[in-house]
Amino acid sequence: MERVPVLKIRDTLLVSIQVDMDDHTALALQDDLTERIVDTGAHGVIIDITALDIVDSFIGRMLSTIASVSRVLDAETVVVGMRPAVAITLVELGLSLPGVRTALNVERGMDLLARTAPARADAIFDEADDDHHDDSVGDGVLTS
């Protein structure tokens, strides 16, 4: 069975799906990703589906589930790079992936996560070392 690699970049987990997803691969990915979120304490997950030609209802539900699960673990999920044909198919199937945030490509996905992250990062700095409060604002926001 093929496995999808989960890469950690700073505070974010990046999953780029390059293989044909069957149901087993999807379930394995779901398990791997959940474990990695807990292990690394990541606050963002980016799932890149640029290479996916087909997203069926099962994969669609998997994406929704991953988003819900990671939200429980305090990580925001962004699905990026969906192809036009895939988007049309999903809409025709009536799957609008509720609760999943989307972006055009990985870069914009990172931007989207960065925009939601600062408040949280600041909060950590505020409590951890009050003295350096001024320095921490807007600098190294994503490190924890």
């Binding site: 895939v86 049309i88 999903l90 809409v91 996905g109």
Partner: protein, 284 residues
Amino acid sequence: MLNAGSSARFAQLLTDQQDQLLKRWATLSLRGGRGRATEAELVAQITDLHAALLSALRADAETDLQAEEAAELRATLAELSGTRARRGFTPGETASTILSLKDAVFEGLDGADSTVLSDFVNFSRFVDELALFTFETYVQTREEVIVEQNHQLLELSTPVIKLWDGVLAVPLVGTLDSARSQVVMESLLQALVDTGSAYAILDITGVPAVDTQVAQHILKTVMAARLMGAECIISGIRPQIAQTVVSLGIEFGDIVTKASLADALLHTLRASGSDVVRRTRRAS
């Protein structure tokens, strides 16, 4: 279908009385054509038809419109009918041009013996076949024209415009049916990928009426764009349409709607972090 004997005798008649026949035919069909075609044009068309008819009839076997020898006749008829269809003639006018051949031939018949009568009945049946053929060609040509126009309409009506860096606009003009909304959706989504735009504005100023069906198509397009990570804004909602939408109970949910394209552009600019500032000129 015209049997061999009648076929040969009519070929003879058409050759012998060529000039008088053509003249009578032209006069008769001019009367039927209600003056839409000029006389010279009509005479040219009739002469062509006469020649084609002769070439089809000359064979000393029976004459069949579907046979290979009649190919030229069919082509001439098709051309006549096709050009007339494109110029807006009615199929009745075209058919009556062909049918007046019967009267023209009838006037040229002499005597009343039984062969002439049965020949004429045979011949007029054949002419009816010709007229029917032009009718079919006419319908076919019109069908082609309609299909052609449909294609042009689809291409014409769905431009995707780049309004600003990262902002696309689709001005929708005309009624949205499922075929058109499919084209709109595909071209918009492709343009989103190509330009990397994060915002798209669907302007429905040119949509004459919004019913549940049209709203459904618009919502689908917005959802698809969202799945790809772009935000859609609906603009150009006329007062009448706003009232219809509300009375039909259509919910746009959390989709941003604006009254005008200008408002929508301003919204996207603000959302993407740009501000529009009006410069006030200081009195010097």
